[in-house]
């Protein structure tokens, strides 16, 4: 590319190519979306922090939270993040469609374990009188934690869709980008969970 600007004052119509890297663009766009999602979570966290004392005479964290179940959920989600990392490696180093799908299924299974325990926790909380309509505190809790659970559920659905796409198309460019973006999503959700188990559960039980 001759750089003498006097020859090309302003601009020139030269067949310039390879200046847009689609992989870069798509992943960056997804990062931007994740950051907007982070703001949503952050504000609901802040809301929770200001409402953690608003129990209105109803049950509070010490009554409602079950540290054992939370530990299991945390372990499941962390392991699932690792499993997804293995799937990402299999993708990157071209270990074949079978390996990628296998690791994704492991991730999915662990995701279901997480969700199963979480839903069970919620039902137990309801039984103890800690349903969302009981107080500001329970509302804030149920505004935050199920939001994360909904994100995990969406991630699971997305994972299933990607697996089906892989079975239909093999690992083509769009599938590859989908797996990369879901990886970002899944790891992001694990980071949000760190905040949840730390601030909400451990913070409430401390």
């Amino acid at each position: 590319m001759s750089g003498n600007t006097l020859d090309n004052p302003g601009f020139r119509l030269r067949a310039s190519y390879h200046h847009v890297n689609r992989e870069d663009e798509v992943n960056f766009g997804f990062w931007v979306f994740l950051m907007s999602d982070a703001i949503i979570f952050g504000l609901i966290f802040a809301t929770y922090a200001t409402m953690v004392g608003a129990t209105a005479g109803g049950p509070g964290p010490k009554r409602l939270f079950d540290i054992g179940s939370v530990a299991i959920q945390t372990g499941a989600l962390l392991l699932s993040s690792f499993a997804y990392g293995m799937a990402s490696l299999a993708l990157r180093y071209r270990s074949g469609r079978g390996k990628v799908i296998a690791w994704l299924l492991v991730t999915l299974l662990l995701g279901f374990v997480f969700l199963g325990f979480e839903v069970h926790d919620f039902l137990t909380m309801f039984a103890k009188g800690g349903s969302p309509d009981r107080s500001g505190f329970t509302s804030a809790f149920f505004g935050l934690v199920p939001l994360h659970g909904l994100h995990v559920t969406t991630g699971c659905i997305w994972m299933v869709v990607l697996i089906v796409q892989m079975l239909c198309y093999g690992i083509d460019d769009d599938v590859r980008l989908g797996i990369q973006r879901l990886a970002l999503f899944w790891h992001f959700l694990d980071i949000v969970w760190i905040a949840i188990f730390s601030l909400v559960y451990l913070g409430g039980l401390a």
Partner: protein, 119 residues
């Protein structure tokens, strides 16, 4: 006809190197990430379970462990760390953190102030 593509499209996805050095390096990063994360999780859980400190000290400890584990996740699982070729993403995350501190911090400050004046 199609020699020129203004749109670089998708890059060459790289040679398969399963079992090679690069693969092993990457694998170790994930394994370290997992190990650190497990440790950084078990300790705060244990501290809370055994009521090892006063509530306010516990909160500080939990907060620190959470922050460190988040950094571990960013470094080992999300591959976001300096120096990094995709500096755009790191700057984006840092900017978001600043905005979050202002918004969430501001919220807590304001509502805390209102709470102290109204009860």
């Amino acid at each position: 006809m199609n020699d020129f593509h203004e749109f670089g499209g998708y890059p060459d996805w790289g040679q398969p190197d399963f079992g090679g050095d690069a693969y092993r390096r990457d694998l170790h990063i994930y394994l370290w990430g997992l190990a650190l994360a497990v440790a950084l999780t078990v300790v705060p859980f244990a501290l809370v379970y055994w009521h090892a400190m006063t509530a306010s000290s516990l909160w500080i400890a939990i907060g620190i462990f959470a922050l460190v584990q988040a950094v571990v996740h960013f470094r080992c699982f999300l591959h976001v760390h300096p120096p990094h070729e995709n500096v755009d993403e790191m700057l984006l995350v840092l900017f978001t953190v600043i905005i979050l501190i202002m918004m969430a911090g501001g919220t807590v400050w304001i509502l805390g102030n209102l709470h102290s004046r109204m009860y």
